[in-house]
């Protein structure tokens, strides 16, 4: 039993890390994109011409999911005969983007949804709505950065 864990446990932990990065960050994005989508549909129902502007806002919280995917892919590149310690390290290295990605995506969704109402009232100010939303993303980027650097340290 112990031998099995030693032989395959590392890979399993690493894959768990990759899965968590994709799952949790993806969940945050899904929630965020969903929130904006609802607000965006409301704006479009009043003025279909604003579709392009609100679409950009809707896509914004989607990037956290991409970052999670990115980290997952980088972990995937390391899988194959990992020892237990390295596997655990990769699991921990995946956590920053997984967790921060979730909250960043979710909250960016809320800011972007508020941006949609900004677009509804003052379409010429849409750029500012986009920037407000982009602010939230900074922390996902920082988390992704540290995840990438940590993943790079292993193996």
């Amino acid at each position: 039993m112990f031998q099995i864990v030693q032989a395959f446990g590392g890979d399993a932990l690493a894959i768990l890390g990759a899965a968590l990065a994709a799952i949790i960050a993806g969940m945050g994005s899904a929630k965020g994109v969903g929130t904006v989508g609802e607000a965006a549909a409301g704006v479009v129902s009043e003025d279909p011409g604003k579709f392009g502007k609100v679409l950009i806002l809707q896509i914004l919280p989607g990037t956290q999911g991409l970052y999670g995917l990115l980290a997952a892919i980088m972990v995937m590149g390391k899988v194959g005969g990992l020892d237990l310690a390295s596997g655990a390290m990769l699991l921990f290295a995946s956590l920053p983007i997984a967790i921060v990605g979730y909250f960043s995506g979710k909250n960016q969704g809320r800011v972007a949804a508020a941006g949609c109402s900004l677009v509804a009232k003052k379409p010429e100010q849409s750029g500012k709505g986009i920037i407000f939303a982009a602010m939230v993303e900074t922390y996902a980027i920082l988390a992704l950065l540290i995840s990438i650097l940590l993943i790079g340290k292993v193996g």
């Binding site: 950009i56 896509i59 990115l70 982009a134 980027i141 650097l149 790079g152």
Partner: protein
Amino acid sequence: MAILNMKRIELLAMLSDSKAILDLIQQSGCVEVLDYSENENDFYKLSMATSVSQFDKFKAVATQALEVLNSYVPKEGGLLDSFAPRQEMTVTDFYKKAQDADAILSKCYGINALYKEIQDAKADIIRSQTAIDQVMPWANLDIPSSYKGTQFTSVFVGSIGEPITGEEITAKLAEAVPDIDFNIETVLEDKNQTCLVAICHKDNAKDFEQALRGIGFVTPSDPTKHEPQVRIKRLGAQIEKCNEKIAENEEKIKTYAEFRGDMEFLVDYFTLRSDKYKALDNISMSDNVFVLTGYIPEIYVEGLTKKLESLFDVAISITDPDPETEDIPILLDNGKIGQTMEAITEMYALPTHHDIDPNKAMAVFYYLLFGLMLGDAGYGLIMVLACLFVKFKFRLEPKKAATVNYGLLCGLGTTFWGIVLNGWFGDLPAYLANGLKAGGANPMSKRSFFEAMETSDATVVFLMFCLIIGVIHLVYGLCINIYNMWKHGSKFEAIAENVPMILIFLGFLPLIDSQISGVALRHYAVDPAVRHKTVQAVCRGFVVFFDKCGQPLIYVLAAGAALTVLAPALIAIKNRQKFGKVAGGIGAGLYALYNAASGALGDILSYARLLALGLCTGIIASVINQLASMPGNPILFVVIFLFGHVINIAINLIGTYVHTNRLQYVELFAKFYEGGGTPFTPLQVKSNSFKFKEEI
């Protein structure tokens, strides 16, 4: 001069010429008419509100008619046609065409009337359908549902709101009124209701009806005069008629398609008239003359004055506006490259007359940062080709040309970094070299400047590059601020406020090395596994630089910190302020140091997004290629490849656009740019369908 110099124009002319002069000014489009409010010397104003609202109403009519027409006969042409130039028209043609305005307007009214009939017919259909639904349960009844009975019998037509069979009803009634003879016939039994006809002798009608009501019997709310079928048929015919009406009106509307151009013209025409009358609202007049004041960019002054003086009896005076008391509107004039940035700057805020126009200054870094974040030569070339195609296919009007040039330059920046970073649709060359199958070595990898996946050291080295680019960008912003403040005369402040920050930013360079890139950089610089020797050479250069300059730069950082603390006090001394202020300046300086240090760190780290977004595009592109190669079939490869990369381009273009703007707004603009200017809104010809041929 990127922000155009504004002059104030004051014009006095005969009242009889007022409309002609305003027409000319509108066509020239270079004067922002101001409200002339000095009501002295018997000058008065004439309210144009009635005319303006009249024109706005006509415009609304024409706009609605155009919308209706476009919904029934969609305008041909795709996305590309939006780049096509507007039709040119001479002023004479314009007036000739304007004479037909009434005729076109009546056509618009015609379309709107037809459309209203369609809407009414649609409402009628819904009404009839509801009525049919109500009478439908009675479809099998062969007497009118309002039928009350014969000479000796009473007939009750109605329903019970629950599923119940005829036998059950008979049983219940027999129990309730055992002495009465009656007959029950059900017309419909479904899960919501049971429709039935009950007959009894007239003498027993009252008792029987009470018994019926006792088991939940109700009569229909809208009983029919004839058999229900008659009503159903009548309503059906009505719906049919409405449908015919709708089809007929749609056909009629379609015949108006040939007037679409005229209607577009009409919308523009009424916009023009409405704008002009709004301007007329601003002028003051006496019995014989009128006065108009406004702003005019200096470069147009001569042309307009000459033109006006040659055609009319006018007295024009041009004066300098006072920037301290007036909110002088802003009009920008940049070269071809600077112009492409104007939309980005406007989204933030227009400059004021105290600001420098940031457009030209930000352009260089903008496209470099954009390119670095997208960083794929394949994607860049697609952008370049698409923009070149549009550029050569259409004779673009200036605003659209700026948009296309913006795309073109973004594409060039992306191609540049794509070549440097060796991204060609991710790692497509590797698959091409191997017959679209996985596992080939990237033949271009020798030329690669950086391959993120090659070693983990490379990622760190790339991060270092990104942060160094950030430092350069930030120092650049501060240098612009020095230039701007120097030009406005506060030379001492320019140096005292900015140089310490520049020193602090430069002082952060060795910190980047020691805290982030140190080990990885030194390892990468000598790693024999690194394929690209030039990169290694560059990295060795960095190692030498950090080893030699690291220590001195720490002193620079310290000097910057010390100067930050002293700067407010120095400025106070220079302005010969009291000792208390100077001492207070030291406190302010310490606070500024705290802000500067944390701010500088945040600013520099923000450029890590260059790495994150660049990697995001590149790695996902590679994954797409990997997926495409899995089936091992060239056709499937192409299909998956196209689908995947189109999505990857779309998502990353938006991300890159947003984050490049963010770096401009938050990191760069914070260093030197305030903004908040009022845009120059001249009285002009705002039209979508045509433009005047004459340059006035």
